[in-house]
């Protein structure tokens, strides 16, 4: 019958409308602004209303989520910071839009380069959030951040310097627990292998 297709379409839209309110009654208050409600509304079983009411509600970022890069430092027992970066420059080489700038440290006495960055800049205006720097860094010194709320009033604040980029390893462990564990495990294994090799080398001569 002509026009029946339209009626079916309209009925479907009506169904969606009612399901939203039906699920509101079914789940009650926990449907909104709770982790559980957000997780349900973005799962395969979601029905009815689908939107997440940003900024009151926020979708949880998955572990692999990447935004801008940041630099890691280890916290010493007395609060001293030791940067992981050795200023090898691989991140600046792989960066596709070339937004990383590194100044290598020089020893003031001998004038020779030392493995630490004197300055480290990232122009987050240019950064394309591709994650190549974190992927190819051999020292796990640069990682991708989860913080996506970067709006500032002036463009001069988008050129991040070392002070702005440095974040503690504990922060990294909190946003990417699985990756952190894997890296720590690999690092310990590598150190153990190195120690074993050193011991094996030292043994015959002793």
């Amino acid at each position: 019958m002509y026009g029946f297709g339209i009626v079916k379409s309209l009925f479907l839209a009506l169904k969606h409308f009612f399901i939203t309110y039906w699920d509101d009654l079914k789940f009650g208050r926990k449907r909104y602004k709770t982790q559980e409600g957000i997780a349900h509304r973005s799962s395969k079983d979601a029905r009815g209303i689908f939107t997440i009411q940003y900024p009151e509600e926020k979708l949880p970022s998955p572990e692999e989520f990447r935004f801008t890069p940041f630099l890691l430092y280890e916290e010493g027992p007395n609060g001293e910071k030791s940067e992981r970066c050795t200023s090898c420059g691989i991140c600046a080489k792989v960066c596709p839009p070339q937004c990383i700038w590194i100044v290598r440290s020089m020893d003031p006495v001998t004038g020779k380069p030392i493995p630490a960055p004197a300055e480290f800049y990232i122009d987050v205006d240019i950064c394309m959030n591709c994650g190549s720097c974190a992927e190819y860094c051999p020292f796990d010194a640069i990682k991708m951040d989860h913080d996506y709320e970067l709006a500032v009033y002036d463009r001069r604040y988008t050129l991040y310097d070392k002070a702005k980029l440095l974040k503690p390893v504990s922060y990294y462990a909190s946003i990417r627990p699985t990756n952190y564990e894997q890296e720590e495990k690999a690092r310990k294994e590598a150190e153990a292998a190195k120690a074993a090799a050193k011991a094996a080398k030292a043994a015959p001569s002793a």
Binding site: F4, I6, K8, A46, F65, V94, V103
Partner: protein, 579 residues
Amino acid sequence: MSEQIPTTPPNPILAHFPDSVTIDERKGYSGYIVKPETLIGFASFLRDKLGYDYLSSITGVDYYPEDKLEVVYHAFKSTGGSAVVFKTQTPRENATVPSLVPLYTGAEFQEREAWDLFGIRFEGHPDLRRIMMWEGFAGHPLRKDWREPFFEEDVKPYKSRSPEGHAYRIEDKNPFHNNVAYPAGFDPTTLTDDSETLIYAGLAKAVHPDGTLKTDSVVINLGPQHPSTHGVFRMAATLDGETIVDLKPVMGYLHRNHEKIGERNTWVGNMPYTDRLDYLSQMSNNFGYAITVEKLTGAKPPERAEYLRVIMAELTRICNHLMAIGTLINDLGVYFTGMLYALEERELILDIFEAVTGARMMNNYFRFGGVVRDLPEGVLERIKGIVFERLPRKIDELDIYVTGNEIIKERCLGVGVLTPEQAISCSVTGPVLRASGVPYDVRRAEPYGIYERFDFDIPVRYHGDTYDRYLIRMDEIRQSTCIVQQAVTSIPEGPVLAGKPQYIVRVPPGESYGRVEGPKGELGFYIVSNGKPNPWRYHVRAPSLINLTPLAAMCRGHKIADVVIILGSIDIVLGETDR
């Protein structure tokens, strides 16, 4: 590349053209080198005698050190199989090559592009205007000696970044005016931009037979800022009343010279840029670039990576078609209800992309010889939940919502008909081609990856109208769901990347053309390597651009409101059209 034609003596091409055609014997190259004067004869022999009726890609290469320009053609059979590659060479000064538009209509935009970006003049082209830049633009940007404003170095990585990388913003150090090279004796008052006049001059006027009421032809512009064009795309049309008399697509508003950027980039550094071509089907773009480079490097992805690639590419196809259908319904005037139903499903798939790759759209997931990382814990179950439980149900729902709706039928049936002959001659690919009754899909015509292992159909529709182009996308969503279902159940364990992650890839010298069936059509990449860490030539055969070739023919005689849905049914993304 050309297995179908033997290169040994009983070669029909060499036998027919003993003097003017030679085999390309440079290391890493294949195909034939044709003298410009025999190009037309060669192409018609190829099309009429050997059945290579589908000219996929035309592009130029600037061999600057040898002072010559080369035009590279890739022709295929519309029944499947590998390419015949032929080239013709011309000096850089006054570069002229005969046009192939009389034989293959699909050459039109690509030859205009080669003229615009390389300055190769195609003699016999009916409408040889610049396509991306404006008339009066100085120089041809893809020539190797052309330098852009804010030029820093020929190739990345730039030396100024490390170890003495004192950051600066380029516009502070090098303000505008100091970074542009003007031609000698340049006078801005004499600058002419006759792009507009040329566009309007080329438009046909309404012809009224005697005895009918005579009305003026009205020229109107749809776009570049128009919600129906899905981006910055413009159509200049002449109208007779409400009927379209003639129409010209105008593009280039989003042109950023992706190919020049690609030639500055390193091989790996180019991967995230491919995401930004067709930003609704990022994984397919990654896939195409990865297999093209792998053809030269010989890297072989492990089994699990091959499965992951197929899963991701097919999920992308579902995303893209949902978006295409959603926006088509929107163009028809069903404001946002239907579109948001489609977007809900796309959103769930983007959540998966985000969990796997770290980004919803700009995935940067493929590498040469595999993919970046394995699926995190629990993601495989989520994909299974979507493709086994949710998508089949929701696609049926969308089907009920749209397919039977009489208003949509009235608007779409018989609108914008594209015949199979037209489609093949215009080098149209993807759903648009298959909706016209040509069962051509690169996944079957020249399989790549592990597509031979999966059981799926290539949907074909036979009317070639807007409604069929909608239906074929519905069919393809179902087929892609089916492929992902098979892939997630049979995916093996194992590594996902062959060898160690490398940021400097050694690509042996040579050329390579790789193509994948993107959601919009055949996405081809043509690369030339000279063994350096950067591509010498990097070309994208963009389906969104070439599928626009028959737009004017499809729109003629229809009402102005139909133009919007005809364009919507072709499904273009301007990031890829303009590059």
